[in-house]
Symmetry: C2
Subunit: 395 residues, 2 copies
């Protein structure tokens, strides 16, 4: 028998699988080109050419025992140094290799840093709507998640609510900008206000409260909007980065934690992150991909495709009367639903449109449309969206 | 501040790091070729040529979004099917892709299956001496480890002690054969006896007790000794495999769990393993390495090098009067220490020999010598071992 703890996860997973199976059934019944799957955050643009070039070079030129062998649990030192230098160049930070821990994607990085920080019952704040996996990651370490309800006027974090909900047990605040699922980028003003609240609360309680910035979408920002770099604004800030989206490598599980010298208890946080990487069973981030990304630090996949998709979809859905948050970043469109979001998502499915209900992100009344898909599919989906819209206009 | 839970790990890690740093200091002082580092299980033989060939082919021939993209959390279906077929061929099992979950090495696989099985306070049995990380993996899920003391006459698991220590809370028994650190291969007789005890205990308590077989050393068996395949002998058996040693890919973190149809609660165990892979932050095993190992399933690195090393080192240490367990598999020599194992390891260091004390494996009075090193280093170390032996002979 599986653990009692796991039963609810298995049930939840059956629902997701049922949805996935239904998508496949729809594709079989109507033809794949007549099904509009906007449910997954799986990048549609290929990695830049430099990734293939890097891999070929590495395989040809690196000694096999170095290429595929164990290294320090924190990763190859020259890779970490290259990442540190690249960050310093971009964000005027002053990292060296000791500030960088290579991780099995951002998901791995978040689990490592939560293992480092959380004792049973410690609280982690997240701003709704947010990536539902945060609940599971925090639960892995017997932490408690504190949900800050959304400010639906802007989907910037609600500072007043934050002020109310931070307690003496708050160990961390997770932020995610550009945001999944809203596409909002937290403004410099927002970041400064969050920092101020947490500094005040640290003083009030005599505690340390770490901001954990989950940044898989950092490079996906449109219209020249700047994504503030958190370590400039707050001392106890840790960045969990992933190359899944910027280099279209989600299946390779490669990312890093950036832990600045300035964080409280720095030496212990670094040592503990190294140990946590080992004892959680990651051991280290995959070696070949560490070496590959180090050669592509200033590259990204062709982001302009997502920008094209964003404009097309946003304009179309607005013109159909839907109330949409204009995405500044990431590759998600966040849309207010004219009825309950689960019902709306089911209704959309009748037109072969697959969406994720907002309740999966702790924010009902909205759906997430992932537009990291072929632009052609978006165009093809318009007729279906028209039919869907017609239902609600006629009501 | 880091979690209270993490403090002991950081302290332990500082000791290991201190040892490592001392090794580097020794190398600097005496020259790398005059330091004999037998402390790490890092394969010295390169991967077979087929690994490089597979990687080159995959990079050239696979569409990038397939090569580097997300797949099912359990891994690429065709990879899992290929592994299932290969196991069926080798061990007359009847696996299909649904029985195989790709994992981030065996360490990842062990964490996944322990997450699946353990509620807080559940017990996991391990036979001393064993890989010390088992303690940490079990603690990750608030389980309790039950240590079965060694039978030092053979270092086969002590069946009578097992019988005494299994309780109604025992959820799993970890076995590891060929064994780290002893090099012993559990005999068919041993396996049958373990199975019998657990079957009896399952009936007595009305529980399920899973054997988790940690098998990174499966292919490293010498003198034609057979390594029994656990699923033939016990119904509730799960295999955690790794390609780290068989293909010399430890830094790539690639392995799998094999979960036979016959295990109790099969469907839930499979679903939960899929979910656990996701929520522990692995998400999936690295894509490129999944595809690569699928093309090298009948290959291994050149194991004969380890066999040569084994003979050289065993013969030499026996001739010097050390009491050694003759390794049947893996790449470790297990040696009785003429004084306390920590003191002995420190004494060895005076002669630039780096070893791991048995107490790290829950079995003091012994040391582990990892002979996955250059054969030349082994030969060069003999003079140092002679000096070390002389101390104890003169006593």
């Amino acid at each position: 028998m599986i653990a009692k703890k796991m039963v609810k996860y298995v049930e939840g997973s059956s629902i997701t699988r049922a949805m996935f199976e239904e998508g496949k059934k729809l594709a079989k019944k109507y033809g794949a080109s007549n099904v509009y799957d906007f449910s997954l955050g799986n990048p549609s643009t290929p990695p830049p050419a430099s990734v293939k070039k890097a891999l070929v070079n590495i395989i040809e030129d690196t000694k096999p025992n170095k290429l595929h062998g164990y290294m320090n649990n924190s990763g190859h030192e020259e890779v970490r140094e290259a990442i540190a230098m690249s960050l310093n160049e971009k964000f005027k930070t002053s990292f060296t290799q000791k500030n960088i821990i290579m991780t099995v994607g951002a998901a791995g990085g978040l689990n490592v840093i939560l293992k480092v920080l959380l004792d049973s019952g410690d609280e982690v704040v997240a701003f709704a709507p947010y990536f539902g996996e945060y609940n599971n990651y925090v639960a892995n370490f017997d932490g408690k998640i504190t949900v800050i309800p959304p400010d639906i006027s802007s989907f910037q974090p609600d500072i007043k609510e934050l002020q109310k909900k931070v307690t003496a047990r708050t160990k961390a605040v997770i932020i995610n900008t550009p945001n999944n699922p809203t596409g909002v980028i937290y403004s410099t003003d927002t970041i400064k206000k969050i920092a101020q609240v947490l500094e005040d609360k640290q003083k009030e309680y005599g505690t340390q409260i770490y901001i954990i910035s989950d940044e898989p979408y950092r490079e996906l920002a449109y219209d020249g909007v700047e994504v503030p770099y958190i370590t400039k604004y707050y001392k106890n800030a840790i960045v969990a980065y992933s190359y899944s989206k910027s280099l279209s490598l989600p299946g390779e599980r490669i990312g890093y934690l950036a832990i600045p010298d300035e964080v409280d208890d720095f030496e212990n946080v670094i040592s503990a992150a190294n140990v946590a990487t080992r004892i959680l069973g990651f051991v280290n981030a995959p070696s070949i991909m560490q070496l590959a990304v180090a050669q592509c630090l200033d590259e990204t996949s062709d982001i302009s495709v997502y920008d094209t998709n964003r404009r097309l979809l946003y304009d179309k859905l607005c013109s159909l009367g839907f109330d949409c948050v204009k995405p500044q970043g990431a590759f998600y469109l966040w849309v207010k639903t004219p009825e309950d979001d689960l019902k709306f998502a089911n209704k959309a499915k009748e037109f072969n449109i697959l969406l994720v209900p907002g309740s999966s992100f702790m924010c009902s009344g909205y759906v997430r449309i992932a537009y990291c898909v072929d632009t052609d599919m978006i165009k093809r989906s318009f007729a279906a969206f028209e039919k869907l819209a017609a239902i609600y206009i006629n009501k």
